[in-house]
C-alpha cells in the first residue's frame, strides 16, 4: 500500500487543475485565441461575483447559480452562472456610448448546478458574443467563428445541432392549440419526453381541442431532424415554419453547412434565447459540449435594445472530446504525478 495522501478537502463541486491539464488546455486554446483576435473578437473579463438581481434581469432560474452569498450590506451575490448576462450588463452600461457591433470573447469559469456527490459545479467556458449586428448575417458570422474555433482546437468529428427557440411555440399558436395545454407540451418537448407528449395529444383529441391532423403536424415537426434535406420534407401547410433555418441551410458557407444538423424540436435550455439556437455535439461525449443562440430580447431588459448572438463551449468537455479523438485516455492523477 502507498502512504495515504493527507486529506485537506476542497469544497464539493470544485477541483484543482494540475500543470499537465493546464498545459494541454493552453495548447488547445493558443490557436483559438489567435483566430478570435483575427476575427476582431476582443477578450473580456467580468467579475466572478455578480448581484443576483442582475443575473435575474437575464434569467436566474435556468442559469441555475451554484453558489450564493451575502455581501457586507446583506445583498445577495452569486458566483456568475453565465457569462452572457455580465457581457450584456457591460454593453448596456459602461459601453453604452460605444457604437455597435461588439465582438467579445472570454475564457472564464462559470458556476452552475445543484450540489450532487462528485459532480462538478465549476466549469471553464470559452465563449464569444456578437452584439449589435442584426439579422441572419450575425448568426452566420457567429457559426463561422464557432466552426473555426473548433477546427483550430483540433476537433474533427463534431457537429452543430441547430433549431429555433420560437418554432414549436409559434406552431402551436398557429394551429390554435389551447393556451392551457401549451406550457405542458413545451415542458415535455424540452425534456424530449415523447411518451408524455403523445399522451397529452391524445387527450386533446379526445376533448375535441385539437384535430388528428394538427397533432400529426406537431408530432412530425417535434421529431424532424437531420441534414438540410429534412427542410424540404416539411408538410405543405407549415412549409414556412422555419424560414431562418432554410436560409441558413442555403447561405451558410461550406465549412459551416457540413457541420449542421437541423433539429426542429430543439428548445432552449436558457430562457433568454429566442430565434436560432444551437448545441455543439461530439460523438465521444454523451452530452453537448457547448451551445448558444440568439438573445435578441435580452439587451432590451438592460435598457439598450440590440440584437445579439453568442456561443459557449466547455473547455473541459472539449478537452475530453479531443483526447478521445487522439485515442488517449485522460491520465490518472497518480500517474501524471509519478511521471513528472
Amino acid at each position: 500500500m502507498t502512504e495515504p495522501v493527507p486529506f485537506i478537502p476542497t469544497p464539493h463541486g470544485v477541483r484543482d487543475m494540475l500543470p499537465q491539464e493546464m498545459g494541454e488546455l493552453n495548447s488547445l486554446l493558443a490557436p483559438v485565441r489567435d483566430e478570435l483576435v483575427a476575427k476582431r473578437f476582443e477578450e473580456l473579463h467580468t467579475p466572478a461575483l455578480e448581484y443576483e438581481s442582475v443575473i435575474a434581469m437575464g434569467d436566474v432560474e435556468s442559469t441555475d447559480p451554484a453558489f450564493r452569498l451575502l455581501d457586507d450590506e446583506g445583498r445577495m451575490l452569486v458566483l456568475r452562472p453565465d457569462m452572457t448576462i455580465p457581457t450584456v450588463r457591460l454593453v448596456a452600461t459602461r459601453l453604452r456610448k460605444v457604437r455597435p457591433p461588439f465582438r467579445f470573447y472570454y475564457v472564464s469559469h462559470i458556476y452552475r448546478g445543484k450540489p450532487s456527490p462528485g459532480r462538478s459545479r465549476e466549469f471553464l467556458q470559452l465563449g464569444a458574443e456578437l452584439i449589435g449586428r442584426s439579422g441572419l448575417a450575425a448568426t452566420l458570422e457567429l457559426l463561422e467563428t464557432l466552426v473555426a474555433v473548433l477546427d483550430l482546437a483540433g476537433l474533427t468529428q463534431y457537429s452543430i445541432a441547430i433549431g429555433n427557440a420560437d418554432l414549436f411555440p409559434r406552431l402551436m399558436k398557429t394551429l390554435e392549440i389551447p393556451a392551457s395545454a401549451q406550457g405542458d407540451l413545451i415542458a415535455d418537448l424540452g425534456a424530449r419526453n415523447f411518451v408524455g407528449m403523445k399522451r397529452r395529444f391524445e387527450r386533446l383529441i379526445e376533448e375535441g381541442a385539437a384535430s388528428p391532423r394538427q397533432v400529426e403536424l406537431l408530432t412530425q415537426v417535434s421529431q424532424l431532424r437531420g441534414s438540410a434535406e429534412i427542410l424540404d420534407r416539411l408538410p405543405e401547410e407549415i412549409k414556412d415554419v422555419a424560414p431562418d433555418l432554410i436560409r441558413i441551410a442555403r447561405e451558410a458557407e461550406g465549412s459551416v453547412r457540413d457541420r449542421l444538423v437541423f433539429d426542429l424540436g430543439m428548445l432552449p435550455t436558457l430562457n433568454y434565447y429566442s430565434g436560432e439556437i444551437f448545441q455543439i455535439q461530439h460523438p465521444a461525449v454523451g452530452q453537448p459540449i457547448g451551445g448558444g443562440g440568439r438573445y435578441d430580447q435580452l439587451l432590451e431588459r438592460f435598457g439598450r435594445p440590440l440584437e445579439a448572438v453568442g456561443f459557449g463551449v466547455s473547455l473541459e468537455l472539449l478537452h475530453t472530446a479531443k483526447l478521445s479523438e487522439d485515442g488517449l485516455s485522460k491520465p490518472l492523477l497518480e500517474g501524471s504525478e509519478e511521471s513528472s
Binding site: N193, F194, V195, G196, Q223, L224, S324
Partner: protein
C-alpha cells in the same frame, strides 16, 4: 480505446442497454422485434457485454446512467426508474409491458399510520428505495415526510417499526399482503419505456427512426 464508450461511438449502429430482472424478457423480445440478435444474451447470464450483438445487460437503475453518459445509444427502463434516476434521457416510446405501480403502503388496519403521524407529529417516516420519487410525492401532495432510505426490501420497515409507511413499486401486491401491508395511495403507474441518449438522438437519427418504425408500426409519419 477498446472500451464500451468506443463501441457506441465507433459503430454507426445502435448499442442497447437491457435491464436484468423482471423487465429482462420483455426487453429482449423488444430488441428481437427491432432486429437485434439476442440469442447469446439469453443463453449466458454471467456475461454483461455482448459486443457482437451490441447489447449490454445491467441493473435496471444503471440503464439510465449508461444511456445518459452515451456509452450506449438506447436502453429499456421502467418509468419508475427514469423518474428516480434520470436527468437527461429522451423518452421515445411506451413499450407497454412490465406494468406496475408506485404506491404508498402502510400496515393494514382502520387507522392509516401515515395520516396519524402527519396529524400528531407533523411528518411521517417513509422508508423507500426511491428517495427522489418519495420527496416529489411529498411536495406534490403537501405531506411532509422524513425519509428512511433503504437498499433492501422495504416491507420490513413498517412491520419492524422503522417507518410509518413505505413508498415502493408494486406488481401483484402479494408481497404487501404477506407483510400485512395495504396500499393507501396510488402514486404513479409505470411501464417499460424505450429511452435514448441526447447525442445519439441526432447522430443516429435514421437508425432510431427505423427502430421506432419497427416497434410502432402504426405511426408511419415519424421522422
Amino acid at each position: 480505446m477498446n472500451n464500451s464508450r468506443g463501441l457506441a461511438w465507433e459503430t454507426g449502429e445502435l448499442v442497447a442497454a437491457v435491464p436484468k430482472g423482471h423487465l429482462a424478457d420483455g426487453a429482449l423480445d423488444t430488441l428481437d422485434r427491432a432486429g437485434f440478435d439476442t440469442a447469446e444474451v439469453r443463453s449466458n447470464q454471467r456475461r454483461q457485454f455482448f459486443s457482437e450483438s451490441r447489447i449490454m445487460t445491467m441493473r435496471p437503475s444503471d440503464v439510465v446512467k449508461y444511456v445518459e453518459a452515451g456509452v450506449v445509444d438506447i436502453g429499456i427502463a421502467g418509468k419508475d426508474v427514469i423518474e428516480e434516476y434520470a436527468d437527461a434521457v429522451y423518452e421515445l416510446l411506451d413499450l407497454e409491458f412490465g406494468g406496475c405501480r408506485m404506491v404508498l403502503a402502510t400496515l393494514e388496519g382502520e387507522v392509516d399510520p401515515v395520516q396519524d403521524a402527519l396529524q400528531r407529529l407533523g411528518s411521517a417516516r417513509i422508508a423507500t428505495k426511491f428517495p427522489r420519487t418519495a420527496l416529489a410525492w411529498s411536495e406534490r401532495s403537501a405531506q411532509p415526510i422524513e425519509l428512511v432510505e433503504l437498499k433492501g426490501s422495504v416491507e420490513l420497515a413498517p412491520v419492524a417499526g422503522l417507518a410509518d409507511g413505505i413508498i415502493d413499486l408494486v406488481d401483484t401486491g402479494k408481497t404487501l399482503e404477506e407483510n400485512h401491508l395495504v396500499v393507501r395511495n396510488e402514486i404513479a403507474p409505470s411501464t417499460a419505456r424505450l429511452i435514448c441518449n441526447q447525442i445519439s438522438y441526432l447522430r443516429k437519427s435514421e437508425q432510431i427512426s427505423s427502430l421506432l418504425a419497427l416497434l410502432e408500426p402504426d405511426s408511419s409519419s415519424n421522422g
